[in-house]
Point group: C2
Chain length 429, copies 2
């Protein structure tokens, strides 16, 4: 039995995602594709466009066999933690053959070379990185410069001392890909990395562009449709992004949007504003990705708060990206501290497997996992307190809190009754 793992957000699921699943099955002859998917909050530090069950349903309807939830703590973390947790999850399953990921550049040797440097962190690379950070560069920019400087000192590798390095490190897919490779190295995983080149990238024909729209382009289209309506709550123009999604996923997505509004970061503005007032700077500094300088700045600027996204943009700076600021806000909302990350790391990142959904026809893959894994597979959430260690349950509670908060704010916006995470059904297709 050959099994491939994919770490994803599917926010929402689109043609590129379907292509990746089809391609990996075809190229590696995989019997099953298992997805480790973020829950209701995503890596950018925002609520997902639909809840995790809907996103799991889209994935299952378009080729995935099983969708597991990536713990919330890591789903809205920096790329390094996000990738590390995803790789840990697949490695601990004990039966995954390939880790498939999208890349703008599928040259595995180049990606691996960079991952090797980042995993080993040779002294001269570290020195260069610290120098650029001290100069006030943000982390992604400083890392590119430090890699360049390290590689240019290695005369043997002129091939990477070019513009190519910048482009290699400037796309989210490649950055994540390199983090996956780094994580596989670091935890000595037996899983084979399998990058797949994004289809259609480079083409400029409008139709192709639409067919290959990214998840963020789809979200953007949706938001523009929502805000351009003359009255509040007008139905978004579904047709404008139907071409970008597989038919089955589009069906699920449009039905969801017809029956429910979708959440945006700004729906959490009031709560965030309260918490920024409530916590003293010293407490804010303890949340993951924050520090005392940022905390003091947030306190100082508080009177200029008008919304989550406006305040994230206001407080970003040369050395703090918007995404980091947005993640800090989400860590505050979800109460995720730097200490929590340390603790979860000690638990091996992912101390449980939690299915969000699976295809009935693929149910024997669950048996295969149970045979090989060293961590519990959560069936009914209500039984988790009995079957998990206290430590593991502590991490699971963060997933439950994130899901309940998402539901609560969504229900307030929809004027419906929030569903309780404990009583929601796993998606069976």
């Amino acid at each position: 039995m050959k099994i491939t793992g994919i770490i994803a957000e599917y926010n929402p699921f689109h043609n590129g995602h379907a292509y990746q699943i089809a391609k990996i099955k075809e190229e590696t002859d995989s019997d099953y594709v298992i997805v480790a998917m973020s829950g209701d909050f995503v890596q950018r530090g925002e609520p997902a466009i639909t809840d995790k069950y809907e996103r799991a349903r889209m994935a299952l309807s378009c080729g995935a066999d099983l969708v597991l939830e990536l713990p919330a703590l890591f789903a809205c973390a920096s790329a390094e933690y996000f990738a590390r947790a995803g790789v840990a999850l697949f490695t601990r399953m004990g039966c995954i053959d390939y880790l498939c990921f999208g890349a703008e550049n599928a040259d595995l040797s180049q990606l691996n070379k960079i991952a090797g440097i980042l995993a080993d962190e040779p002294r001269s690379y570290q020195d260069a990185l610290n120098r650029y950070l001290k100069e006030g560069k943000n982390f992604p920019a400083a890392r590119i410069l430090a890699l360049k400087s390290y590689l240019s000192a290695e005369s043997s590798d002129a091939a990477l001392q070019t513009e190519q390095l910048t482009s290699l490190l400037s796309t989210p897919n490649n950055i994540l890909g390199i983090e996956y490779l780094k994580a596989l190295k670091t935890c000595g995983s037996q899983i084979t990395p399998y990058p797949i080149l994004r289809e259609g990238a480079g083409y400029h024909d409008t139709d192709i562009l639409l067919k290959n729209a990214s998840a963020s382009a789809i979200r953007q289209t949706l938001k523009q449709a929502g805000s351009s309506g003359s009255s509040s709550g007008s139905a978004p123009d579904f047709a404008s992004f139907s071409a970008a999604m597989p038919q089955e996923a589009f069906q699920i997505f449009s039905e969801y949007l017809a029956s429910s509004t979708y959440l945006e970061a700004d729906d959490f503005s009031g709560i965030l504003n309260y918490l920024l007032l409530f916590y003293p700077a010293e407490a804010l500094a303890c949340f993951a990705d924050c520090n005392i300088e940022i905390a003091n700045r947030l306190k100082k600027n508080r009177s200029a708060f008008s919304s989550f996204t406006q305040f994230a943009a206001l407080n970003q700076s040369r050395d703090i990206t918007y995404a980091r600021m947005s993640r800090i806000f989400t860590h505050i909302l979800l109460h995720m501290t730097a200490e929590d990350y340390k603790q979860a790391k000690q638990l091996g990142y992912v101390p449980y497997l939690r299915p969000l959904g699976f295809k009935k026809s693929s149910s024997d893959v669950l048996g295969e996992i149970k045979k090989h894994t060293d961590i519990p597979l959560i069936g009914k959430l209500a039984n988790a307190r009995q079957t998990l260690s206290d430590d593991a349950f502590w991490l699971l509670e963060k997933d439950i809190f994130a899901a309940d908060l998402y539901e609560q704010v969504l229900a307030q916006k929809n004027r419906t009754i929030p569903r309780n995470e404990y009583t929601r059904e796993i998606v069976l297709l």
Copy 2:
């Protein structure tokens, strides 16, 4: 120099309040009237209709000479704590002659008799009270029944064994009055209690009724005016309550309402809902007026939450009044625990005097207070950290938090920039 103290909310200031100030000055020949007023959250567990500075301005423009803030911890507490703190504040000033309060029944001897029983809590009264509480009566109801049962056993006092007792204990003014008398006894205060009969009570002529409308009737009128408008944010019909307020107070109130919206408890719904999700039942149980049974009920009912007031009404019960539930919610929002009350009690309830405003022409009363008081008078808030003990500053920080939260939610609603409590000016008239 004769000085009278009044404990008040002025939410908003109306004819009855003006009458009380004029009457006490006239009857006692007082030189100055000092008001201990709640800040931005009031005893019912709700935000005040206008912020505390506006309410202080109304009072000063209608006869008060100095307005001090009652610490937020006690301003939104049960009648007992509210009264106790107000009496402590005036007693610690060391120069107050009279404590004036409104009453439906100005027979001091009757009020005093009841206050005496409540202060001493004789065994048979206690037994009766506990019996009624165990039967599931709420506290106010159980107290009336216990007093009746105690007094009926005292055959000498047939006068109070009537309907009169119920009516005596059924109006908020009398209940507070009795609490003031009880507090004066308990803390051995030298201040003379001075009840003033509410003017106009009992008259049914419409004009008189309007002229004697209560603060809650004015708030009700305002809310009805607000919700009956065809479009959102239509200006309330000021004329409908102008007759109930002195000209000067009406002027200030209507100018405020023309430039700003007003806050209601439901403006805090989103934050409250978050906090009810965030805190485990054990933590909710620690907030003042709450307990583990109530906390469990709040957690259990959480999915039926749609707003602050709806959820307070939903969770009230035979033994828990709406006002108590609303106060619990405000304690959660303002993070006021049962432990905080204990700690503040040990500080002598009110460990500082904080003027919200005063009449320039009455400024020598400040000198008189400074001469007699044993607690610091806060001039500039920015200097308070230096002049107050750590304990006292801890209590003051709760006032600052309450004010900043009020401002923040108001500013979000008004789409303006919130004012910072540290930079607001004391009202000088």
